[in-house]
């Protein structure tokens, strides 16, 4: 059973546009929601993360929007650049479970120049 559902599977955006990736979860015990960026041949790199007591977090061009009642969160990439082309994963974790993160299935983002 997929604990975290991610969509879309792939996304093509023009340079300068906004990329939006969505995730949904069922387990209300999750208390930390990171987004990872993965380039081919590399391991995932932590991009930005949010806790459920905050509705939005912004770091540079990357913003997480969090809707606790809908059990959804999304990643917005503003002014998307070709260098942002990568696979993005959302994840979630419950408290006191160490590093047992549950990852989404990934979104392959392509930013066209």
């Amino acid at each position: 059973q997929q604990q975290v559902k991610q969509s879309p599977q792939s996304l093509i955006v023009q340079k300068g546009g906004i990329s939006i990736i969505n995730c949904a979860y069922e387990n209300t015990a999750f208390d930390y929601f990171p987004w990872y960026q993965q380039f081919p041949g590399k391991g995932p790199a932590l991009l930005i993360a949010i806790r459920p007591d905050v509705s939005e977090k912004k770091e540079g061009r990357f913003t997480i929007s969090f809707n606790k009642s809908a059990k959804q969160f999304s990643l917005h990439i503003m002014d998307s650049q070709p260098g942002d082309s990568a696979t993005y994963f959302c994840a979630a974790i419950r408290p006191n479970t160490g590093n047992q993160f549950y990852f989404g299935t990934g979104t392959s983002l392509t930013v066209i120049p």
Binding site: G43, L46, N99, Q100, F103
Partner: protein, 113 residues
């Protein structure tokens, strides 16, 4: 500072064989987690080790085992390899067992033929 390092980079094994994958965490990090990433999917949690003790285990068969050494490096062992074990095996390190920020290595690509 060096990031998380993993060896080997690539590995080809035959069904039924045994494999050992190695990971060195970031200096100062005492917790190591292992993930399996099948092509086109998000990482799946296998193990977490802290201070040489297993702190968490995902839904993987007993053919998978791991250990952590006094210098906090870790080994993942897989016995009786199956074709379905073909994947990218990722190691992630963090400061402690409940640290939410984890840093991934580049992974070991295992191909089972």
């Amino acid at each position: 500072d060096a990031g998380v390092t993993q060896s080997p980079t690539h590995l080809i094994k035959t069904r039924g064989q045994h494999v050992t994958l190695r990971c060195s965490p970031i200096s100062g990090h005492k917790s190591v987690s292992w993930y399996q990433q099948v092509l086109g999917q998000g990482p799946q949690f296998i193990f977490q080790y802290y201070e040489k003790e297993e702190r968490g285990r995902g839904n993987f068969p007993d053919r998978f085992s791991a250990r952590q050494f006094p210098n906090y490096s870790s080994e993942l062992n897989v016995n009786a390899l199956l074709l379905g074990d073909s994947a990218l095996y990722l190691c992630a390190s963090s400061l402690g067992p409940q640290s939410r920020e984890q840093y991934f290595g580049p992974g070991t690509r295992l191909t089972v033929t």
